[in-house]
């Protein structure tokens, strides 16, 4: 089989890129894993989020803002093409605070960033009473919140399904249940799977999440990524309780309250633990006391795909020109940018975004 691009990894990142390339008329083959693969696309929190990102690298804040701004149009197009609506709400999101100190410290860093972004960082600080007008169920322990107007949330599973549907509709080949064992470039690229299947392509995109830890170095990338576990809870479906999302809790379009998330350095272990579940439940109840009576129906652990500084990596291989590493931990937020802008960069178009700050050069020791 031969195509313009082979994309290794059929999660939200890989499918977003595939979707964008197909729209430009490229032929694309996506190689995806099996039912038991670690899948950040299936376990994430679903925020389309701007605030707190890029505090040390304003370009990352800009990239997130760019994607968030394109999201509604991207979701609408996916919905029109596939008949699968991708629920999205972008009316702002909160950073909730339980102490004045942390609230003010955060405001200070946001002000610095706002200057670096030429003032494009629209947020308001809400004291407890102002917050309670917006969120009647907020608890007395919450002293205030930062309401950032560029934040929102989506249904990440519906996004995944819409992408999987539309990529196929546009003629993309998606091979599931596969594991890539080798990538070589004798002339064109040859990507070999475990079952012996070999695919040829002019270019290869490695968007295999944590799978890039093994494959990356063999394709000439540093791929300095690591897993970080996040445990997440979801309750039974409830009447409207939370208006806007926060990192602590959001009410999903189906009605359940999703509660997140831990940050644990435990390697490739995606299990759920009682202490974490209890701590998450406790924090959510502190924010929204009515949640104490809500039934938990499900919890899960999923592994974030993190680079050392938390930023995405977009890198072309020096050893294998035409091979690209695309990896990030914010695949939902960045989906629109990956679908609409990243193909220009892969195609070396004149209008391609400048992604130099996201190259692997930043990990060089000097």
């Amino acid at each position: 089989m031969e195509s313009d691009y082979v994309i290794i990894g059929g999660g939200v990142v890989g499918l977003s890129v595939a979707w964008g390339l197909l729209r430009r008329g490229r032929s694309v083959t996506v190689i995806d894993g099996d039912d038991g693969s670690f899948r950040a696309s299936r376990g994430n929190f679903g925020l389309v989020w701007v605030q707190s990102k890029g505090m040390k690298q304003p370009q990352y804040a800009r990239w997130s803002q760019t994607s968030a701004a394109m999201w509604a149009d991207f979701a609408a197009e996916l919905g029109d093409n596939t008949g699968h609506t991708v629920p999205l709400e972008q009316k702002g999101g909160y950073d909730l605070h339980f102490s004045e100190e942390t609230l003010h410290a955060t405001i200070d860093t946001y002000e610095t960033l706002k200057t670096q972004l030429d003032g494009n960082y629209p947020y308001d600080v809400l004291g407890h009473n102002a917050l309670r007008k917006e969120e009647p169920h907020i608890g007395p322990k919450v002293v205030g919140a930062i309401l950032h107007h560029q934040d929102g949330h989506a249904n990440p599973l519906k996004l995944l399904m819409a992408l999987a549907t539309d990529v196929r509709k546009m003629g993309g080949q998606v091979l599931t249940g596969q594991t890539v064992v080798d990538v070589a470039k004798p002339d064109t690229f040859r990507v070999t799977c475990k079952d012996g299947l070999t695919l040829c392509a002019d270019k290869v995109v490695l968007s295999a999440g944590l799978g890039a830890m093994q494959l990356g170095p063999r394709m000439g990338f540093k791929a300095p990524i690591r897993p970080q576990r996040g445990q997440v809870l979801i309750t039974e479906k409830l009447p409207k309780l939370i208006n806007r999302p926060s990192l602590i809790a959001r009410q999903v379009d189906e009605g359940g309250i999703q509660i997140g998330a831990t940050n644990e350095e435990v390697g490739m272990d995606d299990r759920v633990t009682q202490p974490a579940v209890s701590a998450l439940a406790g924090e959510a109840i502190a924010a929204y006391p009515a949640l104490a009576r809500a039934q938990l129906v499900r919890s899960w652990g999923a592994l974030r795909v993190l680079s050392p500084d938390g930023l995405p990596i977009y890198q072309e291989s020096a050893d294998m020109p035409g091979a690209y590493l695309v990896t990030c931990h914010s695949g939902i937020t960045l989906a629109a940018a990956h679908a609409r802008l990243l193909p220009d960069w892969l195609e070396r178009a004149d209008i391609a975004p400048n992604l130099e700050v996201f190259s692997e050069n930043r990990f060089d020791f000097s």
């Binding site: 038991g36 696309s41 599931t176 439940a281 949640l291 039934q295 938990l296 129906v297």
Partner: protein, 464 residues
């Protein structure tokens, strides 16, 4: 509470027998059960009900008091109304009781979580008035409620049992619409010689069939295209019988086509399972003592593979003997000497099983339902949806769950899991083993956030 030697989840026949055997051998046992009274499903609430409705429910039911009596032992702490929602390595067993979360730690754990009725997704099965035969039995056992104008649909001895219990309670079912075929009966005959070693079961079966015949309850065997209709409540059952379409009006439908192991707790620990073709279900991989591939975790009773109450009791005892040997209460020789009569009785108990499994297979049309039939009631997902997700590249139930929410609701896939695996396996041509099962996560049963947040460790505190 002092750290127990053994924590048992479930106070049905396997759990109760294991608790008693282990306690007799000096082990400290804690048995956690979500019911308010011991007995499991088969002996549900037997201490309270046997004196008032024992006659209608029969001697096989009242036998349960012999097991519940034995829970009164100095080495046994029986925690009723305790819902286990997480089990982690260690083993930390998290549960809630009376609205309060707590945890018990033990080196050995026995999962005796029993069976679930195999759901029977046929057109109309979600209408009010349609329930599983087991749910009908619960009404009869606990509340003495006997359905009027009821039809029984499906296959298997439990259908005959509930029919007889209804007859004795004075309300005959209107008809038995049975899905096993003549071919099934003929195939079962080759297992008959072995089944004769378990002849008391066959005699009981024949007696039940004779009682149903005497009462004049019509039996339609080898039925096909079974569907249920009604506007907002069941009104009739329709089916094909001997080439003709028939309809029977009714107010209640009891459905049953076998039971399957409840493997959720074992799955949550990552214990290996394999597909049991005759029982069309996953069963955990265990050694002869019920020890799983997760050292220290044992499984006995129907949750280890369907065998019925007496088999469950025997395996519960064997598990207890093995744990007693592992903890130095018995030598290997003593263990084997005590085990040998139990193992002999097991071969008699299990003798009729291949015959019954073959004579009463699950209803094929409900294993791979038609496209419009709901298979996940919690999230309203149809069989056609699952087939569509397979075409979208889903190779297993976890991808299908992400696409369509099947298995995400309050039951966490307990009821739709096997159907989803079977549908995907059929579509992809993979085996059920390759297709796999849902990744099971806590909570094993719904629990409130408040209970979880207030979780405390009670290893040094009396639970009573």
């Amino acid at each position: 509470m002092q750290k127990p030697d053994l924590v048992i989840v479930g106070a049905g026949p396997a759990g109760m027998a294991a608790a008693n055997q282990a306690a007799e051998l000096g082990l400290k046992v804690c048995i956690l059960d979500e019911q308010s009274n011991p007995g499991g499903q088969i002996y549900r609430d037997v201490d309270r009900v046997a004196p008032i409705r024992g006659d209608a429910l029969g001697a096989d039911y009242t036998y349960g008091t012999r097991l519940t009596d034995k829970l009164h032992h100095a080495n046994i702490v029986h925690m009723s109304g305790a819902t286990v929602w997480a089990i982690e390595k260690g083993f930390c067993v998290s549960y809630t009781q009376n609205g309060r979360g707590a945890q018990i730690i033990a080196d050995h754990i026995l999962l005796a979580t029993g069976a679930l009725e195999r759901p029977m997704p046929i057109p109309g099965w979600t209408l009010p008035g349609v329930m599983t035969a087991g749910a009908g039995q619960i009404l009869l056992k606990q509340s003495g409620v006997v359905a009027q104008n009821a039809v029984l649909v499906g296959s298997g001895p439990l259908l005959y049992l509930i029919a007889c219990q209804m007859l004795r309670a004075g309300s005959a079912p209107k008809a038995l619409i049975e899905t096993q075929t003549g071919a099934d009966t003929r195939a079962a005959l080759r297992h008959l010689p072995r089944a004769l070693q378990g002849w008391p079961y066959l005699v009981k079966g024949l007696k039940m069939l004779a009682a149903i015949r005497r009462a004049g309850v019509p039996r339609y065997q080898g039925t096909a295209s079974v569907s249920i209709t009604g506007t907002d409540h069941v009104e009739a059952v329709h089916f094909m019988h001997k080439g003709r379409t028939k309809s029977i009006s009714c107010d209640t439908v009891f459905m049953h086509h076998g039971v399957v192991p409840n493997t959720q707790a074992a799955r949550s620990l990552g214990i290996a399972h394999h597909w049991h073709n005759a029982q069309q279900a996953f069963v955990p991989k265990l050694d002869e003592w019920g020890h799983s591939d997760f050292a220290g975790v044992f499984i006995a009773g129907d949750s280890a593979g369907i065998g019925g109450a007496k088999t469950a009791e025997a395996y519960g005892k064997l598990t207890a003997l093995k744990i007693a040997e592992m903890t130095g209460r018995l030598t290997v020789g003593e263990r084997d000497r005590k085990a040998s009569p139990i193992q002999r009785s097991l071969s008699h108990e299990l003798a009729a099983r291949p015959f019954l499994d073959t004579a009463y297979p699950p209803f094929n049309a409900a294993l791979t339902p038609s496209d419009n039939t709901l298979i996940c009631r919690c999230e309203e997902v149809t069989a056609g949806d699952i087939r569509r997700y397979t075409k979208l590249g889903c190779t297993g139930p976890n991808q299908a769950k992400a696409f369509g929410r099947a298995g995400m609701g309050p039951c966490q896939g307990r009821y739709c899991g096997l159907t989803v695996t079977t549908l995907i396996a059929k579509e992809t041509g993979q085996s059920p083993d390759t297709t796999g099962y849902y990744r099971i996560r806590p909570p094993l049963k719904p629990v409130t956030l408040g209970e979880i947040a207030a979780m405390d460790i009670t290893t040094d505190e009396s639970p009573q």
